[in-house]
């Protein structure tokens, strides 16, 4: 099977992560803290000297979650958070020992169509993971060089970008919980004849 078949194969990409599992939060490289006064919950990827505070109070580290979670798959995460499909990831991670390749040679190595490689090279530039530099060509015309951005910059940018996505996702969950609460209070006396989830989905402007 060629790589062309995999772009939309979300089921295969999710791989072994379908099963939910409990995560031991005391032994993670990240940490989650909750405010002891309000409902604020934060995620941090680093140890913070002196802990984290919320309105002046030290936040409490969360050591367990009652909800099981699916193990994330890096390809699925990049697809969901950034719309970066497997082909884009393959291009980013492709390391060629002998030197730079043309889009046609890259397509051959990675088993994609050349058009797909060109499309994703430009998408990766728009996305910000690659930069395109245009150089002069001795025979006339020009040479487009697609190169990765600084690794440190990429680390920070992808983390911030993911946090934006996670924040948007968290807002959706919060909104769903609040809407459910409102819906139940409003319609309780008349009986709940609608499925809450359908109304919530209908009311969202982007759905």
């Amino acid at each position: 099977m060629s790589n062309e078949d995999s772009d939309t194969d979300r089921t295969r990409l999710s791989g072994p992560s379908d099963e939910r599992q409990q995560v031991d939060l005391r032994d993670c490289e990240y940490a989650i803290y909750r405010c002891v006064d309000c409902n604020n919950v934060v995620l941090t990827m680093r140890d913070c000297d002196g802990g984290i505070t919320c309105h002046g109070e030290t936040m409490e580290r969360v050591t367990e979650s009652t909800l099981g979670v699916r193990t994330p798959d890096i390809r699925q995460v990049l697809l969901d958070a950034f719309g970066l499909p497997k082909a884009g990831l393959d291009i980013c991670l492709c390391v060629i020992g002998d030197g730079p390749l043309s889009p046609g040679e890259l397509a051959e190595r990675l088993d994609y169509e050349e058009g797909t490689i060109r499309k994703y090279l430009n998408e990766l530039v728009e996305f910000g993971l690659l930069q395109k530099s245009q150089l002069n060509r001795e025979s006339g015309g020009f040479v487009n060089v697609y190169h990765s951005i600084d690794l440190e910059e990429m680390r920070e940018e992808t983390l911030v970008g993911f946090y934006v996505w996670a924040g948007e996702a968290a807002s959706l969950i919060e909104e769903a919980n609040l809407t459910k609460e409102d819906y139940r209070e409003t319609d309780a006396k008349d009986g709940l004849n609608e499925v809450f989830w359908e109304q919530f989905a209908d009311e969202r402007p982007n759905d």
Binding site: D98, P100, S102, L106, R137, F142, Y146, H147
Partner: protein, 86 residues
């Protein structure tokens, strides 16, 4: 330790600038303490993407290669090189 494509490119440009004549794989290999066979494949690839131009007795750097070095990145960061006709 195997030489990187960027090291091969820089060594070729330095040797060309020193002698002002095309550089053969033996010269590049000597400066990198590698074998001619090891650098030959990289030289051919750099020729294919027009960073080097093959002449009868070696390789010379192109305008493209000189402009590339001014970008302050290395070939190891390059995902693809696309030649576009004028």
């Amino acid at each position: 330790m195997p030489q990187t494509p960027h090291e091969v490119l820089v060594a070729t440009i330095e040797a060309y600038e020193a002698e002002h004549e095309p550089v053969c794989e033996r010269t590049v290999a000597r400066s990198l303490e590698a074998t001619p066979a090891e650098v030959q494949r990289t030289l051919e690839r750099l020729d294919r993407v027009e960073f080097l131009a093959a002449t009868g007795n070696g390789y010379r750097p192109t305008v493209t290669a000189c402009e590339f070095l001014e970008l302050d990145i290395t070939l190891d960061d390059v995902a693809a090189v696309d030649l576009v006709d004028g």
